[in-house]
């Protein structure tokens, strides 16, 4: 499996990433892309921006380890992960996962598996800044942990 991981402040371009992955993957019949975007209205007060922190070095190697687990479970041809950090505005893409495989089922399963990991286990921390000037670090959600249990 071709694997490429970026943790970066820069925005990503879905078409560029998908075309590159498809080229690397050779004869892939299926590409699944997940794009996570910053939601502007999750609670009662609208979000002004999000700040994402991570643990440089550890984040990349942990994502690579989990992508390796996915490759052991499903027949994958290529995987690309882009995760943004720093300040992000509502509507902006925050995470991109691309999975290429010969057939669709492996790509769907592996993309969902990796997203469950990124949401529940990867060393990222979010601080929410609201339009009323308040801000706080986001608390971990029980529902995200539940989704991950399906794979354990």
């Amino acid at each position: 499996m071709q694997l490429s991981i970026s943790v970066t402040q820069a925005a990503f371009d879905l078409a560029v990433e998908e075309a590159r992955l498809a080229a690397e993957a050779g004869d892939a019949g299926a590409v699944v892309a997940f794009v996570g975007r910053v939601r502007g209205q999750d609670g009662p007060v609208a979000l002004a921006s999000l700040f994402l922190e991570h643990y440089p070095g550890v984040t990349e190697s942990e994502i690579a380890r989990i992508a390796g687990e996915a490759a052991a479970r499903w027949p994958l041809l290529a995987c690309r992960v882009v995760h943004r950090v720093g300040h992000l505005l509502p509507g902006e893409g925050i995470v991109l996962v691309l999975m290429a495989s010969s057939h669709r089922q492996a790509a769907f399963c592996a993309a969902e598996f990796l997203m469950d990991y990124l949401k529940t286990q990867a060393p990222f921390w979010k601080r929410e800044c609201f339009v009323d000037g308040s801000q706080h670090w986001v608390e971990a959600k029980a529902t995200d942990d539940d989704a991950c249990l399906r794979w354990s």
Binding site: Y55, M115, T120, A122, P123, F124, W125, R127, V138, A140
Partner: protein
Amino acid sequence: MILVRYFGVLKDKLGLEQERLDWPGGTTRDLLTLLRARGGDWEQGLAPGQVFRLVVNQAIVRGDAEIPADAEVGILPPVTGG
């Protein structure tokens, strides 16, 4: 000496990003015991439910693990990313 790094909400709760500590040797559990003994925000901020995982020299630790001299130790609050 070891370097201890704090992330996310822990940085705010503890009021620092990182610190250097004299290290007589021991495990990750020993380090947490030592830090919690500072009381107050340390005891609360590093209570078991507040600590997600420890990282020793860039490798995530599962369970208790030895901390070598000159190690970098990361203390991770529950993650919320993605």
